[in-house]
């Protein structure tokens, strides 16, 4: 069934969008990523104008993250306190990121920088996570038991402004989470995504949070960041397509519920290794696009610049 999108001004198959939303929703609920880094390229591919795809995607992430967070709240796997600290950092970072983005745009080549950002960050995060979780799986198979807690006393624990994060079982300074929030916020604004795929590994490896809590907490933070982004796009660029968003989010929210249930049943190491594989796959795809000679060397852009 073809549906004409009023803002994107293209006609697309409604079932295709429902399906895409569903698949990305499952991944979102499983891994605590918004799914923007997967969905946005997919939307480009089916012919949605990039500006509309990025803005509408933000709106869809609000829906699937909200759905996911509710599921996690019931299981008490959301660290609201940690989420709030990360959110404060994230909003500051997003504002900084918009400034950086506009500066890069004035230099031209912003598309290339965004793509390089993707390749570099997805590559590093995916690679590190893959190696780490691979080792964890091997270790747990060998010893047959749980891997020892890797909580070490580092300089991170000597920082001031300590706070108790009961759900995460942490007693650390608020400075590292704030910095993580800011950095993720900057990257999220530049790359046009919620930032879950950076946030999740950062919470696990930098802050030492348990994997189970990380997913819900990440989703909690993403809701607010993407809601903020949606409003920004809607009021400045008029590029949020509500019809496209509804089609995507119907699939997305259902997918997120299913994903959350799958995620709970999976082992933490397994969850991490699959997220790593997915991140690496997107990284390789984007990298190849840059390296292989495109069939059509020319591309058309809107008049402006």
């Amino acid at each position: 069934m073809q549906i004409y999108l009023p803002i994107a001004e293209v006609s697309v198959n409604a079932f295709l969008l429902l399906g895409l939303g569903g698949i990305v929703g499952v991944l979102s609920g499983m891994f605590g990523v918004g799914g923007g880094f997967l969905m946005t390229p997919l939307l480009f591919f089916i012919g949605i104008p990039p500006a509309v795809a990025v803005a509408t995607e933000a709106n869809q992430i609000v829906a699937s993250s909200f759905s996911g967070v509710l599921a996690h709240l019931k299981r008490k796997t959301v660290d609201l306190r940690m989420g709030t600290v990360l959110l404060i950092g994230g909003l500051v970072g997003a504002a900084l990121g918009v400034i950086v983005f506009n500066y890069l745009r004035s230099l031209g080549q912003v598309d290339l920088l965004v793509k390089l950002c993707y390749v570099v960050f997805l590559g590093i995060i995916g690679g590190l996570m893959f190696i780490e979780s691979w080792n964890a799986i091997r270790k747990s198979k060998k010893s047959g038991g749980r891997s020892p807690a890797r909580r070490k006393h580092t300089w991170l624990h000597n920082l001031p402004f300590k706070m108790k994060f009961r759900v995460s079982g942490l007693y650390i300074s608020v400075i590292p989470p704030l910095i993580v929030g800011v950095l993720v916020g900057i990257l999220a604004a530049i790359m046009g995504v919620g930032g879950g795929f950076i946030m999740v590994p950062a919470m696990i490896y930098l802050l030492g949070m348990p994997t189970k809590v990380v997913v819900g907490t990440s989703l909690f933070q993403i809701i607010f960041v993407t809601a903020f982004t949606t409003m920004l796009h809607a009021t400045t660029n008029f590029t949020v397509d509500i019809v496209l968003a509804v089609l995507l989010l119907v699939g997305g929210v259902i997918g997120a519920q299913i994903g959350t249930r799958i995620g709970v049943k999976m082992k933490a190491e397994q969850l991490r290794i699959w997220l790593a594989v997915m991140v690496l796959a997107v990284c390789i795809k984007l990298g190849l696009d840059l390296l292989i000679q495109p069939i059509e060397l020319y591309s058309l852009g809107e008049g402006g610049h």
Binding site: Q2, Y4, Q60, S67, H233, A234, Q293
Partner: protein, 249 residues
Amino acid sequence: MMRLVCLLLLLSLPAQAEEEIILGLSQNEIDITATFTGSEILLFGAIRRDAPVPDGNLGIIVTVAGPEVPVTVRRKERRFGIWVNVDDVKIAAAPSFYAVATSADLSKVLRPSEDLINRITIPQVVRHVGTNVLDSQSFSRALMRIREENNQYQRLEGAVAISRDTLFQTRIQMPANLTEGFYVAKIFLTRDGNIVDEYETSIPVKKVGLERWLYNLAHDNAFLYGLMSLAIAIAAGWGASAVFSLFRR
């Protein structure tokens, strides 16, 4: 004296009045609704003559042009091992949609000089501005190639049917991704490739109903529209969660 001058003037008028185009359209406007998947317009008409059929090969050319918008064409080149956009050319104005239908091979029904003056064929319509890029021609050719692949530009040679040297008709398929605005349909009547008569009309293409309402809301009440989008997102997220927890019980 005055009457004599008028009479002389009338007599000296060009032969243009000998043949005249009368046109009909299958639809006077195109409405973009929620289920819009493109549209076909039928252009039909007749040639009215006050005198016997003149000599020369008869030709009919029908063009339909969408609103003109500036476009930037970018070209990728290999730099440091990766493919990046290097050069770009700004095309001052190119129609978002353009179709040329003719009654026979274009070379038979239209002289190049007439094409140059009246800007009928696709290359004449896509104007490009001078830039510091050497081969700016290849950029406008790329624009035409890409748009022809997307059916945004259509070359329909021999698609106009003429019967009994008087009646003609053609169908033009408009794609789903139409830009809103006035689409100009032009009909040229040619004899031996020279334009004898020309007729012009416009077909408005616009969003209607829900599509119109949402588009206006997004532009006129952007803040409200943004809040509405968020409210729908939150409601859908909550709804799915509620439905699923019902299932679990």
